[in-house]
Amino acid sequence: MHPAGAAAAGTPRQPSKRRIPVSPPGMADPHQLFDDTSSAQSRGFGAQRGPGGLGYPAAAASPQEAFLADPVSNMAMAYGSSLAAQGKELVDKNIDRFIPVTKLKYYFAVDTMYVGKKLGLLFFPYLHQDWEVQYQQDTPVAPRFDINAPDLYIPAMAFITYILVAGLALGTQDRFSPDLLGLQASSALAWLTLEVLAILLSLYLLTVNTDLTTIDLVAFLGYKYVGMIGGVLMGLLFGKIGYYLVLGWCCVSIFVFMIRTLRLKILAEAAAQGVPVRGARNQLRMYLTMAVAAAQPLLMYWLTFHLVR
């Protein structure tokens, strides 16, 4: 009745040695996807199908199930891969709406010289004279070419290093567990978000016309993690004295750094050049700058004191 059935009975099958089923001589189409399974020779077929298909056990290779295994699995694979491709397209299209990738790329256009000089500036800002960001036809110059431009590489790396150093510090005190790392990370992120929102709110309330973008603000607020790492490392090596000394130095440095950088962004041009301008508006802006700068040392202490015992 079925030529395949006769062929199945005729050809000796060695299912373990072959990767694909032998096309029975009766069937002319070499691309036929599967053999005729309606015959009673399902045992050999099932054993063959086992490694190739969905891992169907030989015992379940009754004609109906074996019929379903192969075309459905291939269709499912094709559907799955097209779904994955569609999903990837969707993510790529939408990620640009939530995260401005091209704007972020500006903040990562750094090189080693810039990072070295900026780290030096963060620890010793007292001798630097010109804090103004250079502009090139209305767009600020990339951080690679101007040391005053904010970048996101240093804050991002400093944040991750801070979490790892916190883990190390907790480990030396035998208080380490992986969920504590997650706790540290989320509490630091929460404080950062709170700071950014508070400053944005105050800028809005004081109707300050500034070109300080949110990402700029995140970058400036992220620079304090460098000092925190320094303090905690010194605390690990030299105990509390080292911690307080280095943290004190870094707190003062970051205070001066923030004042000098934000003065140019928040205060009006006249006040930025050092000419004291009387007026409620400028006074309020000065207070805001001082408050932001003063919050940095406080947060630096708050986020690190429990790590050094």
Partner: protein, 203 residues
């Protein structure tokens, strides 16, 4: 795919001849002998794997930018498993941590490199490079089986191995993505990632 308009003339359980497979592989070839060998079909090329391993093992040799053109995850998989196996020899059953940290680290490096480089980079390429450069870490963890790494010698050895891994990884990334003046910047996050692996080996 099957055309639904065609009247069903066959018998049930007999496929109609119009079914065409949607896979593009010549899986159902004419002859068993015409098929490509299994390794080639799977994309595992031992010669390339060996070349990339040599590139990692000679940190001072200049890397060729084209070696990362094909994404090969078989080598890194082998290295991850070998790392887990050497940890197992030391009595630490931490395969889960190894995989988790590799996944998070690869994701982080992928985001960072895409933001820092002019040309983008695919996730497979990042995973492949980071996996290959895990090889010296296997040396460290196999050393930890015999000697404890918690002395001064251990610290120096660990620091040296982390430096070696991150230097090779950054060298390959720099040459493959043509980034100038950023080698240390790429090496630092790699060093953080391999530092976490070293922490697992040591403690």
């Amino acid at each position: 795919m099957m055309q639904p308009q065609q009247p069903y003339t066959g018998q049930i359980f007999h496929p109609t001849q119009t079914y065409t497979p949607t896979t593009s592989q010549p899986f159902y070839g004419n002859n068993f002998e015409d098929e490509p060998p299994l390794l080639e079909e799977l994309g595992i090329n031992f010669d390339h794997i060996w070349q990339k391993t040599l590139t990692v093992l000679h940190p001072l040799k200049v890397a060729d930018g084209s070696i990362m053109n094909e994404t090969d995850l078989a080598g890194p998989m082998v290295f991850c498993l070998a790392f887990g196996a050497t940890l197992l020899l030391a009595g630490k059953i931490q395969f889960g941590y190894v995989y988790g940290i590799s996944a998070i680290g690869c994701l982080g490096m992928f985001c960072l490199l895409n933001l820092m480089s002019m040309t983008g980079v695919s996730f497979g390429c990042v995973a492949s490079v980071l996996g290959y450069c895990l090889l010296p870490m296997i040396l460290l963890s196999s050393f930890a089986v015999i000697f404890s790494l918690q002395g001064m010698v251990g610290i120096i050895l660990t620091a040296g191995i982390i430096g070696w891994c991150s230097f090779s990884a950054s060298k390959i990334f720099i040459s493959a993505l043509a980034m100038e003046g950023q080698q240390l910047l790429v090496a630092y996050p790699c060093a953080l990632l391999y530092g976490v692996f070293a922490l697992i080996s040591v403690f």
